[in-house]
Amino acid sequence: MSKTVKDAIETIPTDEINSISLSLVRSEILTKVIEYCKKHNSAQMSDVDLMDWDVEFANVHYTTLFDLVLSANYMNINCLLDLVCGKIADMIKGKTPGEIAKLFDIKDVSTYEEDN
């Protein structure tokens, strides 16, 4: 599921692989990523159940979501990236600029004169 891992496996000769370096991914996040990959690889759940599971999985604090985004990006796992980015976007929708800045603790809010 991870293109990064797949590429690593394909380029390094098999008898030399002991570990694949994923230096940018913290262990707690990697645990969650592995949980996601395992769930999506097993054929056990129906599509509807899997979607419900995804919603639950992404129901975490936004800082965890950002970590997941970075990991999914680094490990090149497209479906996880879509899920998490979609969730972050959902958190942004319907909010005014002030509310968005407050939610994500963004400091340098500009004062553009935009409409609506």
């Binding site: 968005i100 963004i106 935009e114």
Partner: protein, 421 residues
């Protein structure tokens, strides 16, 4: 972990999920970095009430234009709020070439002054020459629009329109590669001719007197729904799987189809169909699996006639693959005529029938109707469900009650299969 530490590409990807005009405007205000990232969104949509409370001097046209111009490569534009022809022209001069999906609430059916403006809103749409999907709501197609050919257009949907024959025929000709065509809630059509070699799905719904003529030449057609035509000619139908013909305004007079061997679903509905047309459809659709019949009357002229008898045995023998059968009111009564069940061969069986839905409206010929219901059960070896819907009964109080009792008794005897609604 702050959102500001995410790399630009990731932020752009997250923000590319934001498409509602209002949300886009708000995201533009969060920070300069966010504003720059919004340049990479692919789609923009504006709801009906997007500009209901304008707080600045700009109008909808200008705001949409400003947002469209800020996007590098807009692929989808959906505008449900009111706009003017010049606004549309300005947006499409910027984003026209990159757009693959355009959906517009044209809203030009009411206002007379707008009706004759030149160029029209419809003319302006021609600037999006690479469109794959075009959906128009509330549009006037009375003059041939000044379009070149839309070579990439695969899907055209028009909902709520006033049409003139020459103009709508020209519109269709300008989209030679369509695979899906929808013309719903359209008035003003008399004669429409569709010649589209790649068309697979077609749904036409014409208001008015129900006397339109349709000619459709599309050898790949798989699904066709037509409402409001009295003459229908579709010569090449080798791939047609779903066919639905109805006419709530007028009479279905003539149907001329090619071979219907692939047909799985046939629906015939309407106030009045000529008997020859009904027989023709039933004869062609010999391999049909699901049949829906709800026509009130027959007759070749204005006078509404009751149906002649439909022979029960012949009917089921000529449709041996029938799995699901919906039959209503007058047509069910026609299947119940006296002589239908007189000469039943001992070998007779209805092999594939699994579900039957019947609507009964009148207690007339109650005995024959019960006999038909019993025969369906007797000869339908695989019948799993029979649903009998009883509508407002006409006729005397007593006969209606008696009939209802009969049906209830029948249901009680075959509880696992029969249900009453």
């Amino acid at each position: 972990m702050s959102i500001e530490l995410l790399p630009d590409g990731v932020l752009q990807f997250i923000l590319s999920h934001i498409n509602n005009g209002r949300d886009v405007a708000y995201c533009n205000c969060v920070s300069k970095r966010w504003k720059n990232s919004m340049a990479y969104i692919k789609s923009l949509y504006f709801t009906r009430n997007a500009f209901d409370n304008p707080s600045h001097n700009e109008n909808a046209d200008m705001i949409v234009k400003r947002m469209v111009s800020a996007v590098e490569r807009l692929e989808e534009l959906v505008v449900y709020c009111p706009f003017s022809q010049s606004g549309l022209a300005s947006w499409l001069s910027l984003a026209g070439p990159s757009l693959s999906h355009l959906e517009l609430r044209m809203d030009n059916l009411g206002d007379n002054t707008i009706r004759h403006e030149c160029p029209s809103k419809l003319d302006c749409v021609g600037a999006a020459m690479n469109l794959k999907t075009l959906k128009l709501w509330g549009v006037l197609i009375e003059c041939t629009p000044k379009w070149d050919v839309f070579h990439n257009l695969r899907i055209l949907e028009v909902v709520g329109a006033r049409l003139e024959d020459a103009a709508v025929n020209a519109v269709i000709q300008a989209c030679p590669n369509l695979t899906r065509l929808l013309l719903l809630g359209c008035e003003g059509v008399h004669s429409i001719s569709i010649n589209l070699p790649y068309l697979e799905q077609c749904k036409l719904d014409f208001y008015g007197l129900g006397n339109c003529t349709l000619t459709l030449i599309s050898p790949k057609i798989e699904s066709l729904e037509v409402q409001g035509c009295s003459v229908i000619k579709v010569p090449e139908t080798n791939h047609l799987k779903n066919l639905s013909i109805s006419n709530s305004g007028g009479r279905v007079y003539m149907v001329d189809f090619g071979n219907l061997e692939a047909l799985e679903f046939l629906s015939m509905r309407g106030i009045q169909w000529c008997w020859a047309a009904i027989c023709q459809m039933l004869k062609l659709a010999s391999d049909v699996k699901h049949l829906y019949m709800k026509v009130e009357f027959t007759g070749n002229y204005d006078a509404l006639q009751p149906f002649p008898e439909i022979d029960f045995v012949d009917f089921f023998n000529s449709h041996p693959k029938l799995r699901k059968f919906d039959i209503h009111g007058a047509m069910f009564a026609a299947l119940c005529q006296k002589n239908s069940l007189k000469h039943v061969d001992s070998e007779f069986v209805i092999p594939c029938l699994e579900e039957v839905y019947i609507t009964v409206r009148s207690p007339l010929n109650a005995e024959q109707k019960m006999s038909t219901l019993e025969s369906l059960l007797k000869y339908g070896k695989n019948l799993r469900t029979m649903v009998i819907k009883i509508l407002q009964m006409k006729g005397s109080h007593n006969s209606a009650d008696d009939f209802f009792d009969e049906i209830c008794r029948f249901r009680y005897m075959h509880r696992e299969i029969i249900r009453i609604e």
